[in-house]
């Protein structure tokens, strides 16, 4: 066998963002031995960039809140394509998971009576997001990291998993390489959890880091697992648009949660004109009412007002709605100088409040854009942010469709349907990270011996990893990546059409040929060009999956918008798209939505 270094644990967790960390902790607590493998240093994963908060119906600020309202908000936000069982478990277990973080040392912002403070966010009926200023993700990942290092979980940092190993249709581990030495490494496991995050690096304007290359999706598909709902990509409405250096960098929805307003170049608060049919009557219809809402909210959060009676500002509509509205304003010539719109908080809050509630936004703009958000408006526009689709899982156990494989967090699909609510990703990764770890450990416990690894398979993967070094001539992998990002932005972006998607698929075929010819220069030692050559494979796979399902969904719903089918079509609301790999090609099929029980249906109501 071509791999000198082998590790064997009961459970292998791939990815050390929130979901991976939470899964590793739980698997270890169940008594399993655990390997936790991540591409970056510990504590640097994407969760660290989450800003606004973690959604959990604690009811600390608004006692009327409970899991049923959270469930309803999540399903409606997801345009009813969510896996109802996941949405239910998520809403029910999120509060307990947040309290658990507090028991591990997290320091959330507090209410006047000393409980966890909660803020408003798009699509959430009540103030629901537990937060720490605008650096909630950092607090969460650090808390989980601080906890995991004392549990006996074996952590492998800066180690990239390349592909999963299967024996007789069961996942038995994975093969990867150390980023520093470039040497291959084999992990044997009785159960494997994919917590590999998203795919946003395939787009040009994105809030995602280099890590978000869809590795988990690609390796799951290749091993024989199903993917689900790959057409649903979330474009966050507020990314930075200027200067070019920071284009796409995230601006937390917390800005709007704290009262921030969106304006076009004419100074109009355009969101009043974009309240969808399903939300008619639920949102403020004029500025006076939004001012009253802000006044009441402040008193309410300070514990001096029991009930907020004013309706919420339309800036707090769900992300899909706001992103499309911004897109339209720009398209119709009412954009800001650099092709976005204006988001201002300075007209709504005092400088001291802004610096206290949104400190990293303040610094980010001051240092990177020379904009003082306590005095000026921010220029914002949509940025590729989150993948609702992903690895198809069983709701209760987080098991993928392939034995021995589990998935949680952004890598998994179903929880968010066609559009994710802000704050639901951080609660998702806790709830389903925990479940994935638990059920992976239990499955491992039931197995007497570790399954055999097919050495031929290992050797074949190692050979594939080596290939970019062995080409005599070839292309710069970074150039191919850049071309891919342009293709996805242009043809599989926020507004899609049959013509564009078909064009995009054609371009992807050409890019596959180019990627197969990408060459690594230099040595195996910490070589990003080589790493990129390998990542291209995964990015092309998820890009194709996204374009194929986007083409098949001839309607507009949540994060998926078709210029040629602008309406939501009820007949498309009855199924999810499943993608499976058959003889190396992707097959898309329709899978009817699981039937929701009547008591839950009743919670959602008429609209």
């Amino acid at each position: 066998m071509s791999v000198a270094e082998t590790h064997a644990q009961d459970v292998l967790v791939i990815g050390a963002g929130g979901a991976g960390l939470r899964a590793a902790i739980e698997a270890r607590a169940e008594g399993a031995t655990v390997a936790l493998v991540c591409k970056s240093l510990l504590g640097k994963a994407h969760t660290v960039m989450a800003e606004g908060g973690v959604a959990a119906a604690l009811g600390n600020v608004e006692p009327k809140d409970n899991w049923k309202v959270h469930f309803r908000d999540t399903m409606r936000g997801g345009k009813m394509l969510n896996n109802w069982r996941m949405a239910q478990l998520h809403a029910q277990e999120a509060p307990e998971c947040v309290h658990e973080l507090e028991s591990w040392g997290a320091l959330f912002d507090r209410t006047a009576d000393g409980r966890i403070l909660q803020r408003n966010f798009g699509g959430h009926t009540y103030p629901r997001l537990a937060h720490v200023g605008d650096r909630t993700g950092l607090e969460m990942i650090r808390t989980l990291q601080d906890h995991v290092i004392h549990t006996g979980v074996k952590v492998f940092m800066e180690c990239t998993i390349y592909r999963l190993l299967t024996t007789g249709g069961r996942v038995v581990g994975a093969v990867g390489y150390w980023r520093e030495s470039g040497k291959p490494v084999l992990f044997k496991a009785k159960a494997t959890v994919l917590a590999t995050g998203g795919i946003g690096k395939a787009w040009q304007i994105t809030s995602n880091s280099w890590e978000y290359t869809g590795d988990g999706h690609a390796m799951a598909l290749e091993a024989g697992a199903d993917l689900l709902d790959m057409e649903f990509v979330q474009f966050h409405p507020t990314g930075m648009v200027w200067p070019p250096s920071v284009r796409g960098t995230l601006i937390t929805e917390g800005v709007r949660g704290e009262g921030g307003v969106l304006k076009n170049s004419k100074g109009e608060r355009f969101m009043f004109g974009y309240i969808p049919e399903m939300n008619q009557g639920e949102f403020a219809e004029n500025e006076a009412e939004t001012k009253e809402w802000l006044r009441q909210t402040e008193l309410n959060q300070a514990g001096r007002l029991a009930d907020v009676t004013a309706r919420r500002p339309p800036e707090l509509l769900t992300r899909d709605v706001v992103a499309k509205a911004i897109n339209k304003e720009v398209e119709e010539g009412r954009g800001s100088p650099h092709g976005g719109v204006f988001l201002d908080i300075f007209t709504q809050r005092t400088p001291a409040e802004i610096q206290r509630k949104l400190p990293s936004m303040y610094h980010q703009f001051k240092e990177l854009a020379e904009v003082d958000i306590t005095k000026e408006a921010m220029e914002v526009g949509p940025t590729c942010h989150y993948m609702m689709g992903g690895i198809r899982v069983e709701a209760d156990t987080a098991a993928a469709t392939l034995p021995g494989l589990y998935a949680a967090g952004e890598a998994a699909a179903g929880m968010h349907g066609a559009n994710r609510l802000g704050g639901n990703s951080l609660s998702d990764l806790l709830v389903f990270g925990r479940r994935a770890g638990r059920f992976a450990a239990r499955a491992a416990k039931e197995m007497a011996a570790a399954p055999e690894v097919d050495e031929g398979q290992v050797d074949a993967f190692v050979q594939r990893m080596e290939a970019p070094f062995q080409r005599d001539s070839g292309e710069n992998p970074f150039a191919v990546h850049k071309a891919l990002q342009e293709v996805m932005q242009k043809y599989v972006g926020i507004i899609r059409s049959r013509e564009a998607l078909q064009k995009g698929l054609g371009e992807l075929t050409k890019l596959k040929a180019r990627a197969a010819n990408a060459k690594a220069e230099g040595t195996h030692t910490f070589n990003p060009g080589w790493h990129m050559a390998l990542d291209l494979d995964s990015m092309l796979t998820v890009s194709e999956a996204c374009a194929l399902t986007a083409l098949a969904r001839e309607e507009s719903r949540g994060g998926h918008t078709r210029a040629d089918f602008p309406e939501t079509r009820p007949e498309f609301g009855k199924f999810n798209h499943v993608i499976a790999s058959a003889a190396g090609a992707m097959k898309v099929r329709r899978e009817p939505l699981p039937e929701m029980p009547a008591d839950l249906k009743a919670l959602i109501g008429g609209k």
């Binding site: 309290h99 507090r110 940092m157 200027w242």
Partner: protein, 261 residues
């Protein structure tokens, strides 16, 4: 915007090499408005040197991955704008020097993770009857300042106890004094770490030159709010008036020296 005066291109001298050998290599980079040093380095990587090793993740000052020394000063490359540097001469980008080099701009920071593991974890007191805790905002404010730490290890890099005196076995470094200060000020924590602070973490080695505070990209007042209170806490237990006097004199001298520079 200051960027209006940005020249068309700049020269970058990037340290390239392995622990065995290496040198500064010069690259020309076209500039875009708002460009930060990390953009320039990644542009070199994408267009001229595919195997140029550099760590980065968020590119927004939130993850602490892209620590380096820019013109000799420890900084996050993603938060250092090209326009803030003199561009009439090459911008020099080197790896952090307090740690073993892996390759190019990447060094081995694993020692920090070892130190972290040695710190006894958070141990909360019993919760209220409803299973949760009450803490007032004013009591979590202090801890929240320390929790802004993004573990970029720039403070470790600049600290002369680590950098010049190689005291890695007896000294945790400013980053972990910040962590200890978080734990020690946590309203719910019950663990006693004073012995560790004094002995294993070696807080006494710090002579308050405040270099760590100066390089902290999160503007944590490391010396004033973390280290000095930890020293006091230890001193309360192991009272040592003469040592303390020397320490203060040393610090004053260092401060004078610092102000002179």
């Amino acid at each position: 915007m200051a960027d209006a005066a940005l020249p068309h291109s700049a020269k970058l001298q990037i340290w390239r090499g392995t622990p065995v050998d290496g040198a500064l290599k010069e690259f020309d980079v076209e500039l875009d408005p708002g460009m930060v040093v990390l953009d320039a380095v990644l542009k070199v990587q994408a267009e001229q040197a595919g195997d140029l090793a550099v760590r980065w993740n968020c590119k927004a000052g939130k993850c602490g991955s892209c620590s380096a020394e820019v013109n000799g000063r420890p900084a996050l490359m993603c938060m250092t704008r090209m326009s803030s540097l003199p561009l009439d001469r090459p911008v020099v980008v080197e790896p952090m020097k307090a740690f073993r080099l892996e390759k190019d701009l990447v060094c081995d920071v694993s020692w920090n993770y070892e130190v972290d593991r040695k710190i006894p974890p958070f141990k909360p007191k019993a919760p209220e009857k409803d299973g949760t805790w009450r803490m007032s905002q004013i009591d979590v404010d202090r801890g929240q300042e320390f929790r802004k730490c993004i573990q970029c290890f720039l403070c470790q890099d600049v600290c002369h106890v680590i950098r010049d005196h190689e005291q890695k076995t007896h000294f945790a470094g400013p980053a972990f004094f910040v962590k200890l200060a978080y734990l020690e000020t946590h309203p719910l924590d019950t663990e006693d770490r004073r012995k560790l602070v004094r002995e294993t973490a070696g807080v006494g080695f710090c002579n308050i030159t405040k270099c760590c505070t100066e390089v902290c990209p999160e503007h944590i007042k490391i010396t004033d709010n973390a280290i000095i209170p930890l020293k006091e806490r230890v001193a309360d237990e192991y009272f040592d008036p003469i040592g303390k006097l020397f320490e203060r004199l040393r610090a004053e001298k260092a401060e004078r020296r610092r102000l002179k520079h």
